[in-house]
């Protein structure tokens, strides 16, 4: 029993890695630009499918394909901002307008992948995953890889936010966007950086998911909503630590819920979200 619980724990941490990568980008965009970026999930599948197409279908090198996947995500995120959000904002759309337009963008891309894959799961890897056995516990090597990558990504994000000028401007936007503009922050350029960085992080999660369990076109929406719950759980204001805590809670919860009552995973996640929104709308660390 203990062995299987430990196994579930390690799976949960692996899941938490995906959630954290998607959630932190979403939180970055939401906290700085007040855009409820549903299409962030779309960016996630664009990267996953680019990776799948290049690596599995065309036989390119894993790392090259992964890099291309992440780059495609970064560009897709930027493109959605320019093509969809820009015009909506210019014509006086508000938060709900952006939200609905974002939903529209997500629907269009998802429909494209649906037509292409016919909804069949696309797994990018060709071989089996390595399994380590320590005592009674069988652990997946990939979970450690995910953990290391996520830690590295968050480390880099921390340095970017706290050690560079752009990072300073991003944090300025989080606190007070108008004031940041007044003191000379080039909001448009900072906005581009935010979309590029946030989308690249979601892209990394997309590549890893495509490699690990595979993607279906609806994975985008699903992952996005889990990321949103992680953000709400951790607290929107606390971008880095909040999303890590929120994603870790959700990852472990999903893994344990999946182990004990697999049919009720979505139910558990969203019930917790609703309860938390009511009890503590600012999140655990907010």
């Amino acid at each position: 029993m203990l062995a299987s619980l430990l196994q579930v724990f390690s799976t949960g941490l692996g899941l938490a890695g995906y959630y954290a990568l998607v959630a932190v980008g979403f939180a970055l965009i939401f906290a700085t630009l007040r855009i409820f970026h549903v299409a962030h999930g779309t960016v996630f599948i664009i990267s996953g499918y680019t990776f799948f197409g290049l690596h599995r279908l065309l036989g390119f090198d894993v790392f090259l394909s992964a890099a291309a996947g992440v780059a495609s995500a970064a560009l897709a995120g930027l493109a959605i901002d320019k093509i969809v959000y820009g015009p909506v904002l210019r014509r006086g759309g508000g938060m709900f307008g952006l939200f609905i337009a974002s939903l529209g963008a997500a629907l269009i891309v998802e429909a494209g992948f649906l037509a292409w894959t016919k909804g069949v799961v696309s797994v990018a890897r060709t071989g089996m995953l390595d399994i380590f056995v320590v005592g009674d516990v069988a652990l997946r090597g990939l979970d450690f890889g995910i953990f290391a990558l996520v830690a590295a990504a968050f480390g880099a994000l921390y340095l970017w936010l706290h050690r560079t000028n752009t990072g300073l401007e991003v944090r300025g936007l989080t606190d007070n966007a108008d004031l940041a503009a007044v003191v000379g922050v080039d909001v448009r350029r900072t906005r581009n950086s935010i979309f590029l960085v946030a989308s690249a992080l979601a892209g990394l999660a997309g590549v890893l998911t495509a490699y690990d369990t595979g993607l279906v076109p609806s994975s985008g929406f699903k992952t996005l909503f889990i990321g949103v719950v992680a953000v709400i759980l951790g607290g929107v204001r606390n971008i880095l630590l909040g999303t890590i805590v929120g994603a870790a809670c959700l990852g472990l919860l999903t893994a344990f819920a999946g182990f004990f009552f697999p049919e009720w995973i979505t139910f558990t996640i969203f019930l917790i979200m609703i309860v938390l929104i009511i009890v503590r709308p600012q999140g655990i660390l907010g």
């Binding site: 952006l98 609905i100 939903l103 629907l107 909503f225 969203f270 019930l271």
Partner: protein, 286 residues
């Protein structure tokens, strides 16, 4: 002819759903993103009572509406404590939670994912009379909604949306009006759910997912918020348009994705060019 009657019946059903959603979103300004949950409650209660317990269809239909109202009222109780964007998110969560409930707890006919075998009375047994009866109910609902929005209650609803403080200053509780309209919309949506089951003969949980909630949003978004005529027009136009996609000779596997992509484009186009839709008196603010 058979198919045209079926489409007419479907239009009448969705008009009721759109009317209810428009009362809530358009007239009262509550961002309901999970109306499909109450549609599912109505459909499942009607179908279960009629198929498994042998309850008379009309009585089951009535109980479906009552169940829709109850489900709406009960879910709104906790949600009333939050406002703005978090409210919209929480209603979306309600949709996910109800989907899991339908998926795991709702009865199903042996060997299928859903329920079929409604014992329909004479008026609903064949397609011609069924169309006439559903249309009659739909028209009654339209007239009822027109009466409601033209009445003092309708004025109070619009005040709840635009000036809740002013309403409160007059000694009227905006939250009471929210509860009233939400419950009423739940009853209408539940009624539509029962009729939906009678139209399709078969229901399963996948009919009541986020997709259905988005569809409702598209219908009233195109028709126009806070417009009864808009709700009717939006549904007729979109269902007719959707049908016309069948005739362009596309392979059937692409029809679904094409429809989805069109909805996405419509949502983005509306948010950029005409946020009030065709006949709207209000738009997606904030």
């Amino acid at each position: 002819m058979e198919h045209l009657l079926y489409l007419g019946t479907l239009i009448a059903v969705w008009v009721i759903v759109a009317l209810a959603a428009n009362l809530v979103i358009g007239y009262t300004g509550m961002m309901a993103m999970g109306q499909a949950a109450y549609l599912g409650v109505g459909a499942y209660v009607t179908a279960t009572l009629n198929i498994l317990l042998g309850v008379n269809f009309y009585f089951a239909l009535l109980l479906g509406a009552v169940a829709g109202a109850l489900a709406a009222a009960i879910t709104l109780l906790p949600l009333r404590r939050i406002g703005g964007f978090y409210f919209a998110l929480a209603t979306l969560g309600v949709n996910f939670v109800f989907f899991d409930i339908f998926h795991n707890l709702a009865p199903r006919v042996e060997g299928s994912e859903g329920l079929y075998g409604l014992q329909l009375p004479g008026l609903f047994a064949s397609s011609g009379p069924r169309f006439a009866a559903t249309l009659a109910i739909g028209v009654l609902c339209v007239l009822l909604c027109q009466r409601v929005v033209a009445s003092p209650l309708g004025r109070a609803l619009r005040a709840t949306r635009d000036r809740p403080d002013a309403l409160a200053a007059l000694g009227k509780d905006p939250r009471r009006y929210q509860m009233v309209v939400w419950t009423f919309a739940g009853a209408l949506t539940g009624l539509a759910g029962g009729l939906y089951a009678a139209t399709l003969f078969y229901i399963d949980p996948t009919l009541f997912t986020l997709d259905a909630s988005i569809l409702i949003l598209v219908y009233i978004g195109v028709g126009g918020l806070a417009s009864t005529a808009g709700s009717v027009l939006g549904v007729i136009l979109l269902i007719a348009f959707n049908e016309s996609l069948r005739f362009i000779g596309l392979p059937s596997q692409f029809v679904g994705p094409l429809q989805q992509a069109m909805y996405g484009l419509l949502l983005i186009g509306l948010m950029i060019f005409r946020r009030r839709g065709l006949m709207g008196e209000y738009d997606f603010r904030e």
